[in-house]
């Protein structure tokens, strides 16, 4: 198995990284690019904590090969704020108490952002459906839904 040099565009930066084909995106982000904001909860695509945005869409980075996303725009939770200015979805999660243990928050926030980019005025049902692939064990989702709806109003 040959390792190869690939270019990944992560949070607007071009990063050269040497990987093996069997490395998943979450492994490369966390272990090689030190972007540990992306969490891994199951490694099997079932929990959604490893969600990152690929060309604006939420994907499971544990089921994405690093070698197959060259040339695509990858956004992780670290790339959402502009300097000290947080993204409105991040702000809303804080303001509305949507964060408890925080482990699902990166995936949840990115999923919320992607939803609002696509549909700036979702219904509550639409929000629930959009985040239905990300498991939160703490909040009962109530304040997460509330935060995404509030961010929609703010945007």
């Amino acid at each position: 198995m040959e390792r190869q040099l690939i270019q990944l565009k992560v949070n607007g930066e071009e990063r050269d990284v040497v990987v093996s084909p069997n490395e998943t995106l979450v492994e490369v982000l966390r272990d090689r690019l030190e972007l540990t904001g992306t969490k891994m909860g199951c490694g099997e695509g079932a929990c959604g904590t490893c969600t990152v945005l690929l060309d604006g869409k939420p994907v499971r980075s544990c089921l994405t090969l690093a070698v197959e996303v060259q040339g695509q725009e990858i956004v992780t939770i670290e790339g959402l704020a502009e300097g000290a200015e947080l993204h409105p979805v991040q702000e809303a999660f804080m303001e509305h108490g949507a964060i408890q243990c925080g482990f699902c928050s990166p995936g949840m926030i990115l999923t919320g952002k992607a939803l609002l980019d696509e549909n700036p005025h979702p219904t509550e049902e639409g929000v629930r459906r959009a985040i239905s692939g990300v498991v939160c064990r703490c909040t009962g989702y109530a304040k997460i839904v509330e935060a995404i709806m509030a961010a929609a109003d703010a945007l």
């Binding site: 490694g43 929990c47 992780t76 964060i99 408890q100 928050s105 939160c136 703490c138």
Partner: protein, 759 residues
């Protein structure tokens, strides 16, 4: 702001920014120079003697730096209590469940470690195994621990009053059996541990935990190292729910490897390992017999509960006592008999859980509704008649200093439209209620208290040093909010140093929902002490008595002449020059009866105070598929006083998810013998956003005389109430009682078929 103005506000939690930006670090995120990666070889057998372990091939694999087996563990056994020391964290002679640790490897990377595991040869002598607690109690069942006959790990008998006579006198007696299957915490963060061991003999540990001090003490005992050398560090923790409390094989094994290799060792469990090889929740069989008077008041109560404890004791004595405790903490009992058995089986180890005992708590609530129906009493009314009130003493001697149970029941019924709905909704829709009281902390001896320090800097800012632990509940923010309130400061001007066993004073940890009551009180004490010191020093500077002064927004001023003031930084500087630096000290030890013991002496004041709650839940049932949907929940909770109402609501909403949807309807482990069939996030059914009801949280404030600003807790009663409410709502909807949790669609359908064989 004056004291009492900041507490009670919906504030943004201090930990949320780092969590929103991805900066917050969890154990698996950490790396250290020269760090190795470890993996554990696990037993494929439920019960087997280890005859031989040959690690020679693994040791020769390039990249492998250390291999450990039971031989390296020196036979030390762990147990939470002196009388429960039955678990070798890396067993040398025998394995007792599938997934138990047998050997471990630390290597340059995880792939090498995994390859090395495949090179270890273990010879087992497979023994007969037992998986059902009732079978395990029978004569002739395989004996899991040599010293434990009939596999009865713990038996807690409690008897008060004349139970048999009271049953004879009762107007109505009901007997029911309730049961449930195994379920689990399923925290979003899988288990992980990082250990650093240096040449001076310092051992540093990072691992998701509910108490660094408890972990440190256990490791100090197990590794025979002084407590000062064992340093459990602060780390963000991705959920606990009771499942991060005990000491686990992982941290012990990682420590052995780090010591042996002389290098830092990180071990990150797979989701499967997190399911099978850390902790799960107990399954229970509950026999409940209740005798009441004609007007529905408890006269005689008897409960026998058998818990499947899995292979080792863990927190067994506590776990087996909780069914009794929650019972006596909720209702006025007079004549009561309790027999709790925790039984060993060849299954993974069970511990305390936020949703502990859906069968006993759901059972208590459902049987009460059955009795209410037979007596034609409204379920809310029968609860009110038996509900404990402020000033009463529980049957084993705990006095209740504040109690909002009645108010919670009344508010939940009023807000939910109970009177208009109960018994009046169309077939397939129903409404039900649940209520409970809950200890805020429990006797933990020297570990039951908390202390805090508050040191001021010369610029007027300060650092709060507290042992408080936050697994997501908001405890860190809570202590800062309290201190900021007392000191008239902004929360952002107080820096928190917490949950580090080396630096922060002893604290009970995030156990038994005690953090606000105990750690919050300690933090408040430290702030009050610092404030007094500041006002004393400033009184010289402002030529006024300390009583005439106030502290707010970094200024000390004379209350009736605010223009006479001095900057706080200046006061701090003067204190330094005067050789009286401002360091606030606070501590709190809950007023419990320290002679109380789980098994040998279950009487006396059990907790400093108790919280209470009631929920009303509405369900809709698809009568053809048996699928139940919880549509609306109104939850009222007596938290004493809501320091941060947003956090209190968040706890209640989380309880509805884990207790009301997850534990009540969805979650369970399925097995083939000792092998768990669904150790995955896909097949273990944690509720998703689309499964959740609309939730209306109601905060009941009783202003506890002991709690900081009157606060108690917010974490648990919601779950306990939801089991009852869902079970009762299903009865209201369909007219069938389902006594086995979780209430899955097949059980609903079966109950409907039994009720009406024609359908």
């Amino acid at each position: 702001m004056a004291e009492g103005e900041l507490v009670g506000q919906r504030v943004v939690r201090i930990d949320s920014r780092a969590k929103a930006t991805g900066e917050a670090r969890y154990t698996a995120d950490l790396t250290l120079p020269r760090m190795l990666h470890a993996k554990v070889l696990r037993s494929p057998h439920a019960h087997a003697r280890i005859l031989n372990i040959d690690t020679s091939k693994a040791e020769r694999l390039p990249g492998v730096k250390a291999v450990v087996t039971g031989k390296d563990a020196a036979g030390v056994k762990w147990g939470v209590f002196r009388y429960t020391r039955d678990q070798e964290l890396l067993p040398a002679e025998k394995v007792r469940y599938v997934g138990e640790d047998v050997a471990a490897v630390a290597a340059l990377d995880e792939e090498t470690a995994l390859e090395a595991l495949s090179l270890i040869d273990v010879e087992y002598d497979v023994l007969p195994a037992v998986f059902d607690p009732l079978e395990a109690m029978q004569e002739g069942a395989p004996q899991i621990h040599d010293h434990v006959e009939n596999n009865v790990n713990i038996h807690v008998p409690i008897e008060v009053g004349d139970v048999d006579r009271a049953f004879q006198e009762a107007y109505l007696v009901r007997e029911d059996r309730f049961s449930d299957t195994e379920y689990t915490y399923c925290q979003t963060e899988p288990y992980a541990v990082l250990v650093n061991y240096d040449s001076n003999g310092n051992l540093e540990i990072w691992t998701p935990n509910a108490s660094p001090h408890t972990k440190a003490k256990a490791l100090s005992n197990l590794l025979k190292m002084p407590l000062a050398k064992v340093k459990v560090r602060k780390i963000s923790t991705g959920g606990a729910f009771g499942g991060r409390s005990d000491i686990f094989p992982g941290e012990f094994i990682a420590a052995l490897l780090a010591i042996k290799a002389g290098r830092p060792v990180k071990m990150v469990y797979t989701r499967e390992e997190s399911f099978t090889s850390v902790r799960q929740a107990h399954s229970m069989v509950v026999d409940l017999k209740t005798g009441v008077t004609e007007d529905g008041r408890f006269l005689a109560n008897e409960m026998k509960v058998v818990l499947d404890g899995g292979a080792y004791s863990s927190t067994g004595p506590i776990a087996v006592s909780v069914p009794f405790l929650v019972w006596e903490e909720t209702y006025r009992l007079h004549n009561v008999r309790f027999n709790g058995y925790r039984v060993f089986t060849n299954k993974p180890v069970r511990g305390m859980y936020r949703c502990h005992g859906r069968s006993f708590m759901g059972g208590l609530g459902m049987q009460l509704d059955m009795i209410a129906e037979e007596l034609s009493i409204d379920p809310a009314e029968i609860r009110l008649r038996n509900a404990l009130r402020t000033g009463e003493t529980q049957v084993t001697g705990s006095r209740i200093i504040s109690c909002g149970l009645t108010e919670a029941i009344e508010k939940a019924t009023e807000t939910s439209g109970w009177k208009e709905k109960r018994g009046k909704l169309p077939y397939s829709r129903g409404i039900g209620m649940g209520a409970s009281g809950m200890m805020v902390g429990f006797p933990m001896g020297i570990r039951g208290g908390s202390a805090a320090l508050l040191k001021f800097n010369e610029d007027g800012g300060c650092t709060l040093i507290s042992g408080v632990v936050d697994n997501g509940q908001g405890n860190e923010s809570m202590v800062v909010q309290i201190a900021a309130d007392v000191l008239g400061m902004k929360m952002e001007d107080i820096n928190l140093v917490s949950s580090d066993s080396e630096i922060t004073p002893l604290d009970q940890g995030a156990y038994s929902q005690a953090s606000t009551f105990v750690s919050g009180n300690a933090a408040r004490g430290a702030a009050v002490d610092a404030r007094e010191q500041i006002l004393n020093i400033a009184s010289d500077m402002l030529d006024a008595t300390p009583g005439e002064l106030d502290l707010k927004d970094g200024q000390v001023f004379v209350k009736h002449r605010p223009e006479w003031n001095v900057w706080l930084g200046k006061v701090i500087r003067k204190a330094l020059l005067d050789n009286t630096p401002v360091v606030g000290r606070g501590s709190y030890m809950p007023k419990v009866d320290l002679r109380r013991e789980w098994v040998s002496n279950p009487k006396g004041q059990h907790a400093g105070t108790f919280s209470f709650g009631a929920v009303v839940a509405e369900v809709e049932v698809d009568t053809e598929t048996g699928q139940v949907r919880v549509t609306n929940v109104t939850g009222a909770h007596d938290c004493g006083f809501a320091i941060n109402p947003m956090a209190v609501e968040g706890q209640l909403e989380g309880s509805v998810a884990s207790g009301g949807v997850g534990a009540s309807l969805l979650e369970e482990h399925s097995w083939d013998g000792g092998q768990m069939l669904n150790a995955t996030m896909l097949e273990y059914k944690v509720p998703l956003s689309v499964d959740m009801p609309q939730i209306t949280p109601i905060i009941v404030e009783t202003v506890d005389p002991e709690g900081p600003f009157g606060a108690k807790e917010a974490g648990l009663a919601g779950s306990m109430n939801m089991f009852q409410a869902v079970g009762n709502a299903i009865y209201d909807a369909l007219g069938v009682w389902i006594k086995e949790f979780p209430i899955t669609p097949d059980k609903v359908l079966q109950a409907l078929e039994e009720k009406d064989p024609e359908s």
